[in-house]
Point group: C2
Chain length 209, copies 2
DNA sequence: ATGCATCACTGCAAGTATGCATTTGCGCAA
DNA sequence: TTGCGCAAATGCATACTTGCAGTGATGCAT
């Protein structure tokens, strides 16, 4: 949370603009409502042109919540062991961290208020899950290809296919949590909340196979 | 395929307008390209106002492909047996039929050309899968609640939760197919193409559990 | 310090999409 | 057949979103 390295001026101004837009968007949305807050007003409040707004955020809702594009760090990927027996659990946890790097804003209380008042804002989480799954699929695919057990693959399926489906399976408990009525979009998904879903997944898999 | 009952004039005109819009959209998109075909042009060609276009289609792409909103018929749901041992397979097939009722247009060859030339059009299939999953989840939830074995549920999870996760699991092979490089968006998913994915799913589940 | 390449920002234009109020035309019953 | 209720269609206003071209500030090498 401390300003670690003195970023180059260009980077710093970019971060400032991002922050100003997010701050303006969240603040205005809380004061006047989401639908009443126009991109034009947000941009004006942040001191940039409306066109610039869309250079920072795809959609208005992302600015209000302070969402960034998911990114998969190589370091995160390297912590995966494809030979461990809880591979699905590992991938689930990785998916969570990737999808939740998306959250950039700092003011949790305000985000909570906003989502409580405008539940539609939370819908964007599913989009980020889709993006996270795509990123992680590619990463896991590379890992499996390097592993002798997985590289061979089964009948007609290679590591790419196995990775894609593994990640989809691992995504199920997360999607399950996201769509739960009592899902907390602000806190996201922790080991605590993911655990029961993974258990249910395994219970069902045993029951149906 | 025969014009069964002489629909009331109102219904018939509605169907005609739908057809005219779809026909215009597909035809114009094929001639001049998707991006070059504006909603205004489609509406003009169909003889309605641009505003009316959006009373029939959420997005331009749906009009071009002739996509309708997914619907779950009670009859389809009643064919599900929650006690059979291939419940996941049953749900997968149901999901396919629900998501693919979305396809309404008739000219398969033209749709094939369009999707081949503009692959982005096929992206909408995932959206329809999400809607189909939501519909089917509700339906399966009702079925499970009536079944003594499922109604009890596991630790802390009721039939609603079980249904939601079962449907997500059943959706995995379909999502897998949709995201495959050689997926054919026009033919959709048949028993032939779904089978191998279900097999891979079961193989992986065995390997990881 | 100078010059150059890059990147952020901007204005403009076009197109997509939605809400609201109004009009038009079908369906139905007196 | 006349009139009423309702659904479809429309016009209008507004907002979201993207592409493109141009401008200016930043970063960097000389």
């Amino acid at each position: 949370m401390t300003t670690a390295a003195p970023l180059p001026l260009r980077e710093r101004k970019k971060a400032e603009t991002w922050g100003a837009l997010h701050e303006s968007a969240a603040s205005l949305a809380l004061q006047h409502g989401v639908d009443e807050t126009t991109v034009e007003a947000i941009a004006a409040s942040a001191g940039v042109s409306p066109r610039t707004f869309f250079n920072y955020f795809h959609v208005k809702e992302d600015a209000i919540l302070g969402l960034r594009e998911p990114v998969l760090e190589p370091a995160q990927l390297s912590r995966i062991s494809v030979t461990a027996d809880d591979l699905v659990g590992q991938i689930s946890r990785l998916l969570v961290t990737v999808a939740w790097t998306a959250i950039g804003g700092t003011d949790r209380a305000r985000r909570r208020q906003l989502i409580a008042r405008y539940p539609n804002l939370a819908r964007r989480h599913m989009d980020y899950m889709v993006k996270a799954e795509r990123l992680v699929s590619q990463g896991i695919s590379g890992l499996l290809a390097q592993d002798p057990v997985w590289a061979a693959g089964a009948e007609g399926f290679g590591p790419e296919e196995a990775a894609r489906m593994l990640v989809m399976i691992a995504g199920v408990p997360i999607r399950f949590n996201i769509t739960s009525a009592d899902f907390d979009p602000v806190e996201g998904i922790s080991a605590e909340t993911l655990g029961p879903s993974l258990t249910l997944l395994h219970d069902l898999l045993r029951k149906i196979s």
